[in-house]
């Protein structure tokens, strides 16, 4: 009995043991790396200055009468200046100077660079800046709902990258080596080797089923060796 179980444990693991090694390595990476660090929270400086409310001459009532369908209206700041950000009734995002009520143009390259430098916590220079405004340029790490964005890459071995919305000037997402690596780890963990999104794939199902069987056989062997070390008939 034990002999047969040992044989199956060995042969099953000969086929799927590598995935156990992958699960262990990727799992260890994911639990040891602090998720907030992975998400690049240490790359971006939190805005410490409060909004200069006394400079807000253009009121929300003004905004409402000028842009009747406006929704999700927020007073925030862009480079320390108070601005309104909202979605107009034609679903486009708008940015308005809260001091004057003037409609602000899309964030240009210079502004994007300024925002990036202003919010980045380290002093690295900027390695590249690029406008991404259509689906065909979309990198896999960016969701299409964020378009159009400025991609600003800093000159650092870990390639920290900010994605700055051209509409709002917000850093909509960021990436760095350890996050990108984390995504790969996740992909290998759930065994989704095409797009890395789908936990419900048959390959994982198959290997996990065989893996459970192999682990149960292993548990039997351990039980035998630890708790029944003196029985001799366990052939």
């Amino acid at each position: 009995m034990i002999r047969t179980i040992r044989k199956y444990h060995k042969w099953l693991m000969a086929f799927i043991g590598v995935q156990f090694l992958i699960w262990s390595i990727t799992g260890l990476y994911m639990v040891t790396m602090d998720i907030h660090y992975i998400h690049g929270e240490s790359l971006q400086r939190q805005n410490q200055h409060p909004i200069a409310v006394n400079q807000v001459n253009y009121s929300l009532s003004d905004l409402h009468s000028e842009y009747p369908g406006a929704h999700q209206v927020t007073l925030t700041q862009l480079m320390a200046e108070p601005v309104y950000h909202f979605i107009d009734k034609d679903h486009t995002q708008r940015l308005i100077d809260a001091k004057t009520g003037q409609l602000l143009p899309l964030i240009d390259k210079l502004q994007a660079l300024k925002i990036a430098k202003h919010q980045y916590t380290s002093g690295d220079a900027i390695a590249s800046v690029q406008l991404i405004d259509n689906q065909s340029q979309l990198p896999s790490e960016l969701a299409s709902r964020h378009l159009p964005v400025w991609q600003v890459v800093f000159d650092n071995v870990w390639a920290p990258t900010f994605y700055i919305s051209q509409n709002s000037g917000d850093i909509v997402t960021k990436r760095h080596f350890f996050w990108r690596l984390f995504d790969w780890m996740w992909r290998f963990h759930i065994m989704d080797y095409d797009d890395g999104e789908n936990v419900a794939n048959w390959f994982l199902l198959l290997i996990a089923l065989l893996g459970t069987l192999a682990a149960l056989f292993g548990a039997t062997l351990t039980y035998q060796r630890v708790f029944k070390p003196n029985s001799q008939g366990a052939n």
Binding site: I2, R6, K7, G17, M30, T32, I35
Partner: protein, 344 residues
């Protein structure tokens, strides 16, 4: 050296075995589950908050008194406008926030009160239900351990036992937690070993187990490599036969056997009906399966670890650590001795 590998494999498996099986079983659950149901959102529907028109002018922010703000949002709650003034917040919405709500028509301080919470809860639910209770909970909140802000919990009377959680700073529905969602959350707790309710997976217990599991996998792979080198993981389909003369000491009988090659002597003899004593079932750790071969037969690490020098010199070896092809004549003392099946 290899003995250490084996005993590490054993003790590590004892340490993490149960959790390893939990990881596999919950992993299978995630693979097979209905994600829509598991999210708890099966009965969730959006709540319309925005009103088309203003009933009165919005008070200018300049005219209001409030603490320094990093963001002011025009927040609509069930058709009424408020200024949601955020003084302090983290990157994620679940992190602790300092927020003031002011009525945008009157400038009065406002809160998401019980009446609002109850109405929002009912509106967020597809189908008609009754409210069992509504309570403002302070963090930590058992069903949403990550959340660091006070939340309204509105218990509904549906068969799924839905609890609607509403952010007390904004009136937004944070989650519908029903029985499907509870099952999923339990699976996450088990998979993340979050037995102390941290709400995440970056904690010392799982890190410790992850290290132990990595070592378990590594010792396992090492063991497989060792078996492969010893010729006991041969993928060859056709195997040859090895003629072996077996002298059975207990019964004082001699047999000529033809055993398959590419397997261990232990397995080969078992296939022929000769069961050697064993506890480990061929793992090379119990030392019970010894047989006497030619003294010149190569010694493996497991032989040296389990047999005394004098036994080794007399030619004793562990049958599970040698291939059938290595021997031509052996002496065995078997536990059971069925009639050998393949007498020539």
């Amino acid at each position: 050296m290899f003995k250490l590998n084996k005993s590490l494999h054993k003790w590590l498996s004892l340490l993490v075995g149960l959790q390893l099986i939990i990881w596999l079983a919950t992993g299978l659950y995630f693979n097979l589950m209905d994600h829509k149901k598991g999210s708890g959102n099966a009965n969730l529907r959006p709540v319309a908050h925005t009103a088309g028109n203003l009933n009165a002018p919005l008070l200018p922010l300049k005219s209001l008194e409030f603490a320094p703000a990093k963001q002011v949002k025009l927040l609509w709650v069930l058709g009424h406008p408020y200024y949601q003034i955020t003084h302090q917040s983290g990157i994620h919405s679940y992190q602790a926030k300092q927020v003031t709500l002011l009525d945008a028509y009157t400038g009065q301080k406002a809160t998401i009160n019980e009446t609002l919470a109850r109405t929002i809860a009912l509106k967020s639910f597809k189908g008609s239900v009754n409210i069992i209770s509504a309570n403002l909970l302070q963090p930590p909140i058992a069903e949403l351990p990550k959340h660091e802000n006070p939340l309204w919990q509105v218990k509904l009377s549906d068969t799924e036992n839905t609890n609607v959680y509403i952010d007390s700073n904004s009136g937004r529905v944070i989650a519908h937690i029903n029985d499907d969602r509870r099952l999923r959350d339990l699976m996450f707790t088990l998979h993340f070993m979050d037995y102390f309710g941290t709400g995440g997976f970056n904690h010392w217990l799982i890190i410790l187990f992850a290290i132990a599991t990595l070592l378990l996998s590594m010792t396992g792979v090492t063991w497989l490599i060792e078996r492969f080198k010893a010729g006991q993981l041969s993928f060859a389909f056709k195997s040859n036969k090895q003629r072996i003369k077996v002298i059975e000491l207990a019964q004082q009988q001699t047999h000529e056997l033809e055993l398959k090659t590419g397997i261990s002597l232990f397995d080969g003899l078992a296939a022929a009906g000769i069961a050697l004593p064993s506890n480990c079932g061929g793992g090379g750790t119990c030392g019970l399966c010894k047989v006497r071969c030619n003294e010149n037969t190569q010694m493996t690490d497991a032989d040296k670890a389990n047999l005394s020098n004098s036994k080794l010199e007399q030619g004793y070896r562990l049958a599970c650590q040698h291939n059938t092809a290595e021997v031509t004549e052996i002496e065995v003392r078997s536990r059971t001795f069925n009639k050998p099946k393949n007498k020539p």
